[in-house]
Subunit: 395 residues, 2 copies
Amino acid sequence: MKSPKTGSSWGWLFLIWPLLAWSGESTLRGTGDLGVIIERGSGRILIVNTSSNSIVQRVDGLGDLSHASVVFSRDQRYAYVFGRDGGLSKVDILQGTLEKHIKQSGNSIGGAISQDGRLIAVANYEPGGLKVFSADTLEQVADIPAVYDGDKLSKVVGIADLPGSRFIYSLFDADQIWIADIHDAKTPQVEKFVGVGRAPYDGLVTPDGRYYLAGLFGEDGIALLDTWQPRRGVRRILANYGQGEQKLPVYKMPHLRGWAVAGQRIYLPAVGRHEVLVAEMPSAKEVARIAVRGQPVFVVARPDGRQVWVNFAFPDNGFVQVIDTLTNQIIQTLEPGKAILHLEFTPRGEAVWVSARDDNKVVIYDTANFAKLAELPAENPSGIFFTARAHRIGF
Amino acid sequence: MKSPKTGSSWGWLFLIWPLLAWSGESTLRGTGDLGVIIERGSGRILIVNTSSNSIVQRVDGLGDLSHASVVFSRDQRYAYVFGRDGGLSKVDILQGTLEKHIKQSGNSIGGAISQDGRLIAVANYEPGGLKVFSADTLEQVADIPAVYDGDKLSKVVGIADLPGSRFIYSLFDADQIWIADIHDAKTPQVEKFVGVGRAPYDGLVTPDGRYYLAGLFGEDGIALLDTWQPRRGVRRILANYGQGEQKLPVYKMPHLRGWAVAGQRIYLPAVGRHEVLVAEMPSAKEVARIAVRGQPVFVVARPDGRQVWVNFAFPDNGFVQVIDTLTNQIIQTLEPGKAILHLEFTPRGEAVWVSARDDNKVVIYDTANFAKLAELPAENPSGIFFTARAHRIGF
């Protein structure tokens, strides 16, 4: 396109317009293959592309992102980032802009997005409770303090979405599980399950949205609620799950959110042991133990369930191991870099992205042959989140 | 773009530019909540938005779309539409443009996209075989005629993707199942399973990508292949599945692609009977039969598996019934309109879209309370496909 050399004073505008138009065009793209990587130390996220294995852009100013997590809008255009400092950010991942940032509490541990995509819920430590926001504006629409024993407030952990504008979460200090129904935000309905076990510290919902499992810090075993039949109440499963009779030094509590559900089996990290446990669902009967390199932290299934990938606590946090779920054998041991914090599979599982915090890089592997596909520079990367999560239950 | 004639005439360009820029801006949006509806008679598709329950635009010129199906690129920007007349179209659903249209055979029955999104495979009746195209350019990269008995060519049906650039499909005339590995397009590797049963007419892969099931037209039962253990070969399951001893008039062969997998159970249409069968996987042992309104065609699970929705062959094709999978009871009977052809759930299942061909409309329901959310005008609508399919295995 030629620029005019003479004539009216419109000329400079004409020069500018193509740039403006281009800036729009440059972001005209699908959002199904995008994702977000947390740069833990710098309050920054990377927007990445899983088709080209590349970084698209960086977005700054999100606050304290240690232990941050992310959910996506149902159109997959916006990432909601939950910071440890109570910050809640809405990022436009197409334009690479921080749309809005609020400080909604003093300390928080993650959040969830409702089934219809209209509500964002945040689990708060300080003040203990659930806050719910409009996904559109980030205006607060509900506040549900986690009150117990009269006037005490409990830390809230292990939040996940359930069908129908509902959220399920655990009260660490109160030994309770709550289901909040925000269908009418002005009068939220809360169903409470008490005495679920000592100090639930994390929780997850199975991929079908049916079972909620809460790990217990204060005793062995797992609290299980069948949300299709809540009146049956919470029952204890895997009674020996935890540190067991002989207390073991635990370097890092495993993330339940990282548990793997492959077919009818659930793969979970043994607390304090160099083992991955295998249990049948829904009975949760233990069927196998697999010896692994170190204390497992994340135990994640490839989307087709054929492989389970495991990372470890210090001092084995430079390793990643791969279990073949058909044989329950370890078929690969990788050393992607120093301090492996997180793993995320591409939506259909052909590749996996691994963050190596102390090597300032993210490493991408082909899951079929374990070939290294790419390394991307990132400053102390931690969590990796792809937009396909928008379409999943329990994230 | 026209070139300017005189210096002073820049004004009109300035007026035009905002429109050009806006036209870019108008399509700057996420693609996670988009979808495509086939307008069966008119060679046209509707691009729709599942957040606003609305039609975004129409795209014309796709040829014969009776029995058409759709897959999506991994970035969810492009829809690949497989026409009955052998047409293969690539549609940019952000811009609403027909990017490319080729006639790749005389008669085809559907296609699939590879795990990495690079290959499009089409199952052809005439000439019988598999053709594989670059997803980017639609250039043909492989041609695998379905040769049997020397020089005969079989119709190919029931195609699905498997991990690792592989496609699985059935040869209707040859009683075979083939797995084609297109990792190296110049020398595709084909694994053949012969004598799988008389006349496989459709097939599906379970959501984990592990089991391939082919319905048999020529005899009772289902052919099952465990693709994780292919050397174990194809075995026959549900031996009584089909028309049974007393042959029944079948008004429309049920679509296997519409089978529902809910938890460890599979819900499938009984051929020729007013029943939905329930079988446990992976044993495929029949555990229940549910009496329904008519001969079921599609039996589809809500993404969380709690509900299974069923439509029917003539003369009951104005009804839709909903089964609660916890109790296996019918909890709702709806009459959305005349000639219900297809159902598609939103990715997390809060709504379902239903096409009523002879009422020229698509009806949208809330799956929690069965309230009608919207009706959209569409000319003889058939298949409905949402972009979340891009992230799934076996579609």
